[in-house]
Amino acid sequence: MKNFSAYLNTTGEIGYVEQVAEAIIYVSGLPKAKPDEIVIFETGEFGQVFSVQPNYVEILIFSKKNINQGTRVTRTNEVLKIPVGYELLGRVIDPLGKPLGNVKPLKTPTEKRPIDTPAAGIVKRRPVTKPFETGILLVDLAIPLGHGQRELIVGDRKTGKTSFLTRTILNQTRRGNICVYAAIGKKKLDVKKAEEFFAKNGVLDKIVIIASGSGDSTGVIYLTPYTAMTISEYFRDDGKDVLLVLDDLSSHAKFYREISLLGRRFPGRNSYPSDIFYTHARLMERAGNFITEKGEASITCLTVAEAAAGDLSGYIETNLMSMTDGHLYFDKNLFYEGRRPAINPFLSVTRVGKQTQTQLRRDVNREIMSFLSLYEKMQSFIHFGAELNENVKATLATGEMIINFFNQAINEVVPINLQIVAFSMLWANMWRRQDTAVIRTQLHQILQAYNSDKEIRARIDKLIENDSFNSLLGVLKAEGPQIIKAVSQKYGN
């Protein structure tokens, strides 16, 4: 960016600050200002033209410093562009591209891209075909996702949404994909914790974190998801699969509401401006599965929305649900019961995930869902206090075992082949009459063995080649106890 006088001489237009209202500044003059154009102040700050009126121009400012009335402003004839490149990996940056907090300086990438580009047209799109592994048993088996899917993570506050996302990021980066994490208006401490978690697990060099704190100016917070999407698009154009996490869009909506109300827009439902849908929709449409010069690449977008008191019918939540290809509902009641992750599989939806799965996984999926709904129905029988017959007792026991199976520890990530085999072993009653602690430890050992022992991994991978659930169960009758024995010999007791 050149300085103020240079732009003044080039464009020959000047404006004077008339009124300052927190994030919006009213400026007189600047006759040829266009919406979304960048303007620069005499004092060096810059802002974006929010709207043009006959007598003044509304400018959204990107700095927290106070601007005095009468300050001169000039146009730059450019839109907002941010630097994008591989140098950003492993860094925490603010939405304008400046590095945050790190000691070593960031080598500014050479390529600059505008923040607000139109979404790719239909020629560049491809259907979602690759399965997306989150590493979390419940999601991958019951509510599967695909690469290029936009999925909404919705739930009450403090239900484990962010920890689910960090585990997914961990799994994806371990498989070599790039992750972009946008922290919109979050506390600096939370961002720091996330960064340290990634660094501790050795995956920080595949992640870009774009963070804006609640202490930053509202205009900058508003830009955060657009910056994150632009950076993801850069990596997508280079042929890489990107995971984009937007945490969270409901507070982004609140900040945009603040800006609009200051800009005297007419308040709509819940005082949100009437273009709140467009604000989010044009962002979500830029994610998906595309064909690029380097082959097929995708941007998978996981957006977070906080539903007040679990109310899925709120304005922003329903908006986002209509823009995304499904949602994962984090239930407060399940969280208090101790289930982690607290995802309610009956209220969660995935619209394009199931088409990416193999026949075997679809079978497993069907079994799980039908069994879970049966188990739910049985739960209500217990409350009646009636005498339970043998069948019901057996179902309840199996149901409990499966629910415990789905409870996963904080940083435990399970590969997909192992998920199917472990579940099938559970289903085939390999651990009948054993209590949950024993089953837990054995599953843990199998996970360890899978990660470290090639032979056991090969055996388990071979089992996946069966093409139906029933045939897998048949093979497991023999293989299962052998695997358990082999694992416990190596790692047990």
């Binding site: 003044l8 020959g12 237009e13």
Partner: protein, 167 residues
Amino acid sequence: MKNDSLIYSDILKSLKTVEETEEFSSKIDVLLNSLFKTQAKPLEELLKKLLDLKTSGIIKQAMSVKNINSSDHAAIETLLNDIKKEIQKLRVLKLYLAFDPTTEIIDNIFEWVLKNIGNGIILDIEKDESIIGGAIIVFEGRYKDLTIRKRFEELNLFSAKLMDNLK
């Protein structure tokens, strides 16, 4: 009311700069405030006491054109408010000059502006010695730097190269 605006423009022609306009505006406010005091004094006295000769001349002229009686205070109030509204509509041409202009020069500049750009424009003149000569002109959001300083910078008159060549 085309007639009216023409009348006002005649009156307002005497206001050439922003300072003059502000002074005039505040005097009209004073007059308005004292117009309806309980001890109603005749207009002549008020004009003589509160305003200077020039301003009272302007107001008297306006009154004569509109045929307003000096005791009709309500009509006078309307007249004064109308004048104030017209003043709001004036456009400001800001000039940064390198020197302190005399009243004659200001008049000349005003005449030029009236002839070449239009009426309803007042001047806002500021002194900035660093421009050496010429002026920076700001009008309706457009900014033109036509100073000698700028010419020097463009020609790089004092660059080392030139000096070396001169040597």
